[in-house]
């Protein structure tokens, strides 16, 4: 069940922290540009800094989709061996 959301302008930093996973999951995943939180973030710079950091991590994570590692040559040899065995 989705938890009841607090009033965005009057919520405390603790409220914000508690609901942050939900805030990130709603909309386009960017809390820093979400109009609903602009007043709160302006009044709570530490929360704004946390949001910026987490968004930076999420944004950088997209670059990890590009492969970083290479399997050893034995992986293909094993695949070939098994496929040949299957064929025969």
């Amino acid at each position: 069940m989705t938890p009841k959301l607090p009033d965005f302008d009057t919520m405390t930093p603790a409220d914000f922290e508690r609901h942050l996973p939900e805030f990130f999951a709603s909309g386009d995943g960017r809390v820093s540009t979400d109009p609903r939180f602009q007043t709160f973030l302006k009044n709570n710079p530490l929360c704004a800094a946390l949001v910026r950091d987490l968004e930076t991590i999420a944004e950088t994570a997209k670059s990890l989709l590009e492969p970083a590692y290479e399997p050893s040559d034995t992986v293909w040899s094993e695949i070939e061996k098994k496929l040949k065995k299957k064929k025969n």
């Binding site: 930093p13 800094a49 946390l50 991590i57 997209k62 990890l64 590009e66 992986v75 094993e78």
Partner: protein
């Protein structure tokens, strides 16, 4: 359970996946030829996708030997199932779903089925991110080095790492992750948030940018 299962259908492609997985030159022809049993075409598909499949396995499993075994399994499974690929989503998206499901099946076989995955993906208190919400000096500088992030991800507790890789790296939605991991969407959101908090903590520790794990062959990208 079939690794392709219900969650391998091609009409549930997350938004943006085609954009993140653009078609590769020569891939479509290789797929069609491989469907007809052309071994050379299948080896081409392996060459095109081996690094991404292996990297995904390695990130999910955190172990070179298991990652290589699962890469092998994924391509053998692909060989058997390629006839069912209809091209309604990017081939790499389809292949990654197949791989994720095989890795999860493997993990369940290893013992994760003894308790629900929802419980096992929650790491111990020790591994959980610290509540350092109010500390001004914990801010990152506005950018994160890709290599440092890669290493920090590798050191995450398995449950956090799994959800982070599936959501933030692979681009799966919370409802898809919940289905794959057999947990609630709320749990997926919560695990992702904790993973990011933990990464923030790790990225602030200077020794996080240490050497890559032994036995891992890193390639230039």
């Amino acid at each position: 359970m079939d690794a392709q299962g219900l969650h391998m259908t091609q009409n549930t492609t997350p938004p943006g996946v085609f954009k993140r997985n653009p078609p590769i030159v020569g891939e479509a022809e290789a797929i069609e030829a491989a469907k007809n049993g052309d071994a050379h075409a299948f080896s081409k598909l392996y060459a095109l996708h081996k690094r991404r499949v292996y990297t995904l396995c390695l990130r999910m499993l955190g172990n070179v030997s298991e990652a290589e075994d699962m890469t092998q399994e994924a391509f053998l499974h692909l060989f058997r199932k390629i006839g069912s690929f209809r091209g309604e989503s990017a081939f790499s998206t389809w292949l990654h779903r197949l791989t994720v499901n095989l890795v999860l099946m493997h993990l369940r076989k290893k013992g994760l089925n003894l308790v629900s995955l929802e419980e096992t993906i929650n790491p111990s208190e020790e591994d959980a991110p610290k509540r350092d919400f109010g500390s001004r000096d914990l801010q990152l500088t506005g950018s994160v080095d890709r290599v440092a992030l890669e290493r920090a991800v590798a050191s995450l507790p398995p449950g956090y790492r799994m959800v982070f890789v599936l959501h933030d790296v692979e681009g799966f939605e919370h409802n898809e992750i919940a289905t794959m991991l057999d947990c609630s969407t709320g749990n997926s959101k919560s695990q992702l948030h904790k993973a990011r908090l933990k990464l923030r903590e790790l990225l602030r520790q200077p020794d996080q940018s240490a050497q890559p794990a032994a036995g891992i062959k890193e390639v230039a990208v």
